[in-house]
Symmetry: C2
Subunit: 349 residues, 2 copies
DNA sequence: CTTGCATATGACAACGTTGTCCAGGCTCTA
DNA sequence: TAGAGCCTGGACAACGTTGTCATATGCAAG
């Protein structure tokens, strides 16, 4: 073994444990650095015999190319970032997976993190990802001001927002048709004879919640019904408060005969409340959930396609990177009403 | 503006879009490269006045430190990799989130990917993460031979396996007590008078499935009952086959009076089948799932704590990195029986 | 005015890889 | 056998950052 090899081994001893580098491999195989690089990358111009020697040295040393260095040299990291609200939320699992599949198809890795619905944390995460020089960023916004990303966009970081629109910045956005979905859901209740329909949803400062509320109002107005304040409960999302809100709507002299639930978690709590009440009350929920069909009655929902959201966003991202895409666009994906029973209950007399 | 600045801007034009570097900032601020580095990293020894000038240049150019280069220089990437089976699976959401939280507490980012239960893809992913020089790796094994990771372990990549043990390699493992949980679940059925108890689960080559089967057998043997082959259905996991298996067990002259379901998906399908049958049959499922309590009757389950699995694994990982940890260990976390009704149904006469 | 010292700043190498370019040896043809 | 052309292989710079070390500046003390 040439002298350089030993020296180099020693020099690298404290870094990354002590991973061998191409230099070490080259020394051991008795070839030049670049030849090793060629073998590792399958570039042409290496004799089978030389290649064999290099390969042997690689195996013997347990060498693995350092992609960090490679990235520094090449300028592209082949990785994209995903900032979402909560990895543990069943809605984001399929979305995240869809993004991953598209990334994989493009040879990219996925780095993701949860903002926990905190705008500061969203920003911190997004910027950390930019510092890692991800090629692109898929963001499910927690905040409503994304001007902090402007320098990054200008610098060429491909960016797509999903599920909620970007704030104060011009960028690609992929959304569900929250307005249309809610309108359809409420119209479905109206078609089954309901007029007094309750709405329980999140704070209207959240875009999806506002849109769904708007759809609710539109459907009732289309039917010529005047919406009463007591029918709506906004900014209510934790089980306790949803429960109280539902019970209030169902009590009183003139109770609602149906409830439209503004999201997943609300729907589930309302199901619990209705199960305890004797008077049958119709229910339609925004967002599908597992086992909704197994409940008695099955829960009628407006389903969004989370995987499609993720896939569409990621595909747009890579088209930005290809240069195929120019102007930012706003894409709305349709929702689908799934009737399972709870939405077809007629109004109690 | 000094001449160098313009030249540098031009040279960098095609890389990372055209992100400014410390060199560009230095040129613009009229200071040395290292001074910029000092300011960016909050190192001491910079006059307030100089700092102001540098900060100004940073803002004007929209500079953000390139962490890839930083990583190359420093040798630690402050990121860990997570290889799991399927991000979209509700079981892995909380696990993944727990790992992320621990990583965040240690200032690390999380890169994750799905193996889709394919050993080759698991290996490909794990090695890709090693090439990125993640500091550590949390792996939910798809395959049962992990010798391919040996060079990486030797090179100092901290590694913890979760949910299933590592194959042919000595490493940290964090598991649920699959054997004990299954035994408890079946014992629960036995305590309610059942003897003829069916088991539907995954292929025994999957460690968790094998352990649960072992627990099932142990409980019945403890009760002095001879297990009959017709009670067990192994390697059955897709809805169609689970359905057929369940129906077979429930038919015939001497049907089972209770079923123990080996995992989540099996449980759900069995619930459907039982709902169609008139004779009441008891059911206990391994793994909790959302809304299990809302069904009629509520589904009794053996719950594992996915978040605890993830947290424990990640914490061990960082203790490996600290050097606090020496010998690999196998940790088993307890499971919990949650009685909700379906497991307390007495045997039909 | 010189010496000594602390403090602010910059020049330079190094991290591990890839792209560019050149050299040496070979084959082929005239 | 010489010249052209191809193939193999290596030297060197560069990617953007940080660590080391040297220098310049200012000020106090002799």
């Amino acid at each position: 073994m040439p002298e350089t090899a030993r020296r180099s081994d020693h020099l690298n001893a404290t870094r990354y444990g002590n991973r061998p580098t191409m230099k070490d491999v080259a020394a051991r195989a008795g070839v030049g650095l670049k030849t090793v690089s060629r073998v590792v990358n399958g570039e042409p111009g290496v004799t089978p015999e030389t290649e064999r020697r290099v390969q042997e040295a690689i195996d013997a040393l347990g060498f693995r190319r350092n992609d960090s260095a490679r990235v520094l040299r090449k300028g592209r990291t082949a990785s994209i970032g995903l900032v979402l609200e909560d990895l543990a939320d069943p809605f984001y699992g399929p979305l995240s997976r869809a993004v991953e599949e598209v990334a994989r198809a493009h040879g990219a890795l996925l780095i993701n993190g949860s903002s926990a619905e905190d705008p500061d944390r969203e920003q911190e995460l997004a910027l950390a990802l930019c510092a890692r020089r991800v090629d692109g960023l898929v963001v499910i916004p927690a905040g409503d001001d994304h001007r902090y990303l402007e320098p990054e966009l200008k610098a060429g970081v491909a960016t797509v927002f999903v599920d909620r629109p970007a704030g104060r910045i011009d960028a690609d956005v992929v959304l569900s048709d929250n307005f249309g979905g809610a309108r359809d859901g409420v119209a479905h209740l109206i078609a089954h004879g309901h007029r007094r329909i309750g709405f329980i949803g999140d704070m209207p400062r959240i875009h999806t919640a506002a849109e769904r509320l708007r759809g609710y109002r539109a459907a009732l107005e289309d039917a010529g019904t005047q919406v009463e304040d007591s029918w709506m409960s906004l900014g209510v999302t934790d089980p306790q408060r949803v429960r109280r809100a539902a019970e209030e709507m169902l009590a009183g002299p003139d109770p609602v005969t149906a409830i439209f639930a503004g999201n997943n978690r609300v729907t589930v709590t309302v199901v619990r409340v209705l199960a305890e009440h004797s008077r049958p009350t119709a229910l339609v929920g925004f967002d599908d959930f597992e086992l909704a069909d197994l409940l008695q009655p099955g829960v009628t929902v407006i389903a969004q396609d989370a995987a499609a959201l993720g896939r569409t966003a990621a595909e747009r991202l890579f088209r930005q990177l290809d240069g195929t895409l120019i102007a930012p666009e706003r894409i709305e994906l349709p929702t689908r009403l799934i009737a399972r029973g709870s939405g077809e209950v007629p109004p109690a007399v």
